[in-house]
Subunit: 196 residues, 2 copies
């Protein structure tokens, strides 16, 4: 395929994803109808579904985008930094950051009751889990991590706190007092200093 | 008011709450229509809304029930025990435990965008926060709690993990490996033992 064409396809895909993210954030998963997706992306349904099989695939591609972006931060700075970033500016490229996080919560019923949807979702979030686990293993090798708790337990712990933070922000609950909480979370996975 | 009448009112109120909980769990907040609430409670809309001003009030009464029941466990055994109970049997009196937790997530958009709804919700969850804080203060007095982190920070930390757990269970994600994570959470708020 000639390069210009691939560039064009990539740009079109990006245009669809950006519009769809804003649309899901604004109307929720159910409320993001095909007509609204057309309006938000500026493209016809034909063009949209040429790139993505269906609405579910579009939504999951956005979840994958999130997971990749977070995994990138995790690799360099760890999962607690992802949480600090969420706290500072939940989603830099969205107009109403918490809205997109809320849409992620709204699909919980679907995730619970639709095994195929859940497995596609899990596939995407696995990248974040893997990145977190790798980071923790490196930190352990460097002597920064506590070694009395299994790395898988520490990984699940950090992910559980992240889920709590996403839920908290999506509900619009006050978050200005959470910095010291994240300090505590970070300290809980580090090597213990000698204390009395 | 004669006693028999008050007993009758209490029983009727309980009947409505139990039916409504099952209805919200099954259909979600939006899907729990007045007709479905009538079917689930076995009562007419007149009877239901004689006891509760509107659907929102009914939903918030259920959230308050949860908060009171959890606050009771917190007072005796702490918030980590609430999480252990959720893990063991997310909601003993519901047919599909995670469904009710999911309905709590589904209102996140409403919580975020409707200040009155959020403030009525916050009023109810404050009881759980207060119970947690009181329990932690007693534990600190008894010398069981770490004293290098503010009690408010420890309270927020435990509540954030609880939010994560609710979200995790509501999404139907695997939870059989979370017991050691809760051990870590519990240990993180306790007085540090001397370690190397």
């Amino acid at each position: 395929m000639p390069r210009v064409s691939q560039d064009h396809l990539d740009a079109r895909r990006r245009q669809i994803l950006d519009g769809a993210r804003a649309c899901f954030a604004r109307y929720g998963y159910e409320g993001a109808t095909v007509r609204r997706l057309e309006e938000a992306t500026g493209l016809s349904r034909g063009a949209i579904f040429h790139h993505f099989r269906d609405k579910e695939s579009l939504f999951l591609a956005l979840a994958e985008d999130d997971a990749l972006r977070m995994a990138d931060v995790v690799a360099r700075q760890g999962l607690v930094q992802v949480m600090r970033d969420l706290l500072a500016a939940p989603e830099p490229d969205a107009e109403h950051p918490a809205d997109w996080l809320g849409t992620r919560l709204e699909v919980s019923r679907r995730l619970r009751t639709d095994p195929e949807f859940r497995s596609r979702w899990a596939e995407r979030s696995r990248q974040l889990t893997d990145a977190t686990r790798q980071r923790l293993l490196r930190q352990r090798d460097a002597g920064n991590l506590r070694d009395d708790v299994d790395v898988d337990v520490l990984t699940s712990f950090l992910e559980l706190v992240l889920e709590g933070l996403v839920s908290h922000l999506a509900m619009g609950l006050p978050a200005d007092d959470l910095e010291p909480v994240l300090d505590l979370v970070e300290e809980s996975v580090r090597r213990h200093r000698r204390t009395g």
